[in-house]
Amino acid sequence: MAEEVKEIPKSEWALQRYLYTRDISSAPVINLLLKQVDVIYQPRDEKEVIEVLRIAEKEGATVVPRGAGTSGYGGVLPPKDIALFRLSKRKTIMIDFTRMDNFEIDEEKQIVACSPGAVWWDIEKELNKKDLTLRVYPTSAPSSTVAGWIAQNGYGVGSLKYGGIADNVEKIRVVDFNGVREIEGKDLKYYVGMEGITGLITKAWVKVKEMEDMKYYGFHVSAKEANKIVFAGEHYAGLFLDAGYVKLKNEAFGTEMPEKDVLMIATTEKLDGDESLGEEIWEKRFYPMRVRRLGPGLVAAENVLPAESIPAYLNRLNKMIKKPHGSEIWYSKGKKGAVLTFIPSDERKFIGYTMTWLNSIRALKTAKRMRGVPYSTGFYLSSEAKLLLGSDYAELREFKRQVDPKNQLNPGKVFPTGALPLAMRIAQKVIP
């Protein structure tokens, strides 16, 4: 058995550990609460994932699963392991799913069975060859992975019609210290959006659909008017860019879009909108962070709000944030919208960047006042778990205790532990 373990690709090289201890976020100060992973394994199949868990169990190590590391909530970052007010010496193993990236399309059932590291856009390209397409996918689809997005319970393109990824997963297979489980139906809630703290996804069956003749329309309307258009029909996707964001985009892309609020609708219906404008916005949907060039660096805030609250929320942000900024909104089923706000800021200037970063806390406070919730918890926002998980909170926490009594699976994520959640709560009270 020991020989088999050696065969699993792994690295303990200091540089590699440095490179794997990150996601797309660049939060000031908070990184003091993080440690480096001790070893990275790249299993090639489920058997090897189980083997790595066996090693973790034997060594009493914590396990951090990682897809492409393209989220910004710290879900793949290892926090310093604090036990009884002292730093624990638990080793941290990272499982990088890069090598488990295959998938299989069932045309008849319109299901794609994916390994955890399968990349959304790779899947989409293959589906298109069979006249099929994903129902929903993230705006980071060119690189983000299936299990990564499921573990974060993401919303994205197509969510207006089909909901979040939770609504589009038929079944998943997970492994934990007790073995392998196949999960479907209402039990999916124990894993979807749980950042791997209750088990590691090794396979997911994702619903897909037939390709349709999609049209893209642009409308120069306010956020309030946008709500009426977005929810008036059975549209596939809706993306709103406020004037501030259009201005930033123009600067970053070198384009000359009219610098006013604009809505893009992707639909099979015929609408009275500007098709070339709609197509221009659609084509750039994977590039929301181009504006990062302007800092260079970026502070972002992402909150999900009821659609009716969004116009007031945007107004409030515009009054509150003094630096150039802008927001984009992907609408979703249930009359909601995920509002992603961008504030370019030079990351190398510590004080200025930190002060700008406080705006993301202000945005969260504002969203909460308007019945909004953060997009995800991850590591940074575990303080908001009760809000995000709602009535399932206690049950999910109990489930975590049952399946992972020693808190080895991605500790510090989703549920509040350690100093950060307390600090975040205090920050929300103190920051005006």
């Binding site: 590699q16 060119p142 690189s143 962070m289 660096g297």
Partner: protein, 388 residues
């Protein structure tokens, strides 16, 4: 380590979004240390002094063919190839590069003006029997690979020029390496020396247009040389063409009327000709002009997959170059094409080798070879060179 402000800004602007995962080195080796975003993060760490510059870091940093696939996908539109080359130059300054083989190439080029270490006199041997001038407005730049390793490409090129009645000059033993291998591997000083030698020769011979049949030389002369000239305070007013562009022009002008090639072909975009200099359509227009059935590989034009041999990878990391090349040759095989056409002697040589190793019976040829042979005989059999 320090980087110029523009490059430092680039490092900070990287979103770490990983759209650059298309990188052939990452696709092959699967570790962040060989991925483009990993390299940017390394540079960020070095600039902030969070990590130390060490030989193994430098070695992984060189596992990059500088193919530019990362740049094509980059969410923040960073000029990543420029960044890789600048960083390599810094590693050279810090004494941790060039790597062993790249250093050897430098030593050879310093002695012989070519990285193969071939005697200078041998450079012009291939052109015996062809008509050319000492001085003319058009200069044919055969390059080191064309002169010493892929002579069939140089021969076919000038043979075709002769048939088209094109008056051109050739510098013979006074042609020098363009410096590409040294620019790509961070050894700028030597590239500058080679630039000066070529530049003086071209000025002396009254050259207005430089034509290269090597994608690497073409990229270097088109993109790097004007920058070097500016740095050195020299005037730069040369037009630079790749042979595929010139051949396309000659066909359109009716100066070459090749016969038809009744075969299914696929085209491999060399990184230096495609992504680096955006020459995508001219070679395809030539292929269409000879009547061949062009079947594209899945990854083509800006999304083309590198052959694996560029950026000093083939010389220093043979296994990596081989794995990348095999991936590409498999993709070519899937098209069902009889011929794999390219426009770079490096790509051709490497892909041909990979096809042979894999036992894939696809004929790997250069576009100029095909056109020239069709212009001679009205047919192309693929393996032999039929020059005048």
């Amino acid at each position: 380590m320090k980087l110029e402000k523009e490059l430092n800004d680039m490092v900070t602007a990287c979103a770490q979004c990983f759209y650059c995962r298309v990188c052939p080195a990452f696709q092959t080796l699967k570790w962040e240390s060989v991925s483009p975003r990993g390299r940017v993060y390394m540079l960020k760490g070095l600039l902030k002094k969070k990590i130390k510059l060490e030989p193994q870091l430098v070695e992984d940093f060189y596992k990059c063919t500088t193919c530019g696939a990362c740049e094509e996908q980059c969410q923040t539109a960073l000029k990543l190839v420029e960044l890789w080359e600048a960083a390599r130059h810094e590693f050279v300054k810090e004494g941790l590069a060039p790597l062993a083989v790249h250093k050897k190439l430098r030593e050879l080029a310093q002695k012989t003006d070519n990285p193969y270490g071939e005697p200078k006199e041998k450079r012009e041997e291939w052109i015996k029997g062809y008509k050319y001038e000492d001085k003319a407005e058009i200069m044919y730049f055969a390059g080191c690979t064309g002169s010493f390793r892929a002579v069939e490409l140089a021969k076919n090129t000038v043979d075709l020029f002769n048939k088209a009645g094109l008056k051109f000059a050739y510098a013979g033993k006074d042609e020098y390496c363009c410096g590409s291998p040294f620019l790509r591997t961070g050894q700028r000083d030597l590239a500058y020396e080679l630039f000066k030698k070529n530049y003086n020769e071209w000025k002396k011979r009254g050259v207005k247009t430089i034509v290269s049949s090597c994608a690497g030389c073409y990229r270097t002369i088109l993109i790097d040389y004007p920058k070097i000239a500016k740095e050195l305070g020299l005037e730069w007013n040369f037009e630079v063409m790749h042979t595929s562009q010139l051949v396309n022009k000659l066909i359109k002008e009716g100066k070459i009327t090749p016969q038809k090639l009744t075969a299914k072909v696929t085209y491999h975009d060399p990184c230096h000709l495609g992504r680096h200099t955006k020459v995508y359509e001219e070679p395809r227009e030539v292929i269409k002009a000879i009547g061949a059935e062009l079947v594209e590989m899945e990854r083509n034009r800006g999304e083309s997959f590198c052959c694996g041999s560029g950026g000093g990878v083939k010389s220093q990391f043979k296994d990596l170059a081989g794995a990348i090349g095999k991936n590409r040759i498999e993709e070519a095989k899937e098209t069902g094409a009889e011929y794999l056409i390219s426009c770079c002697p490096f790509c051709k040589y490497h892909l041909k080798q990979m096809a042979e190793e894999q036992g894939i019976p696809i004929k790997v040829v250069d576009l100029v070879e095909v056109v020239n042979n069709l212009a001679v005989k009205g047919e192309y059999k693929g393996n032999d060179i039929r020059c005048a």
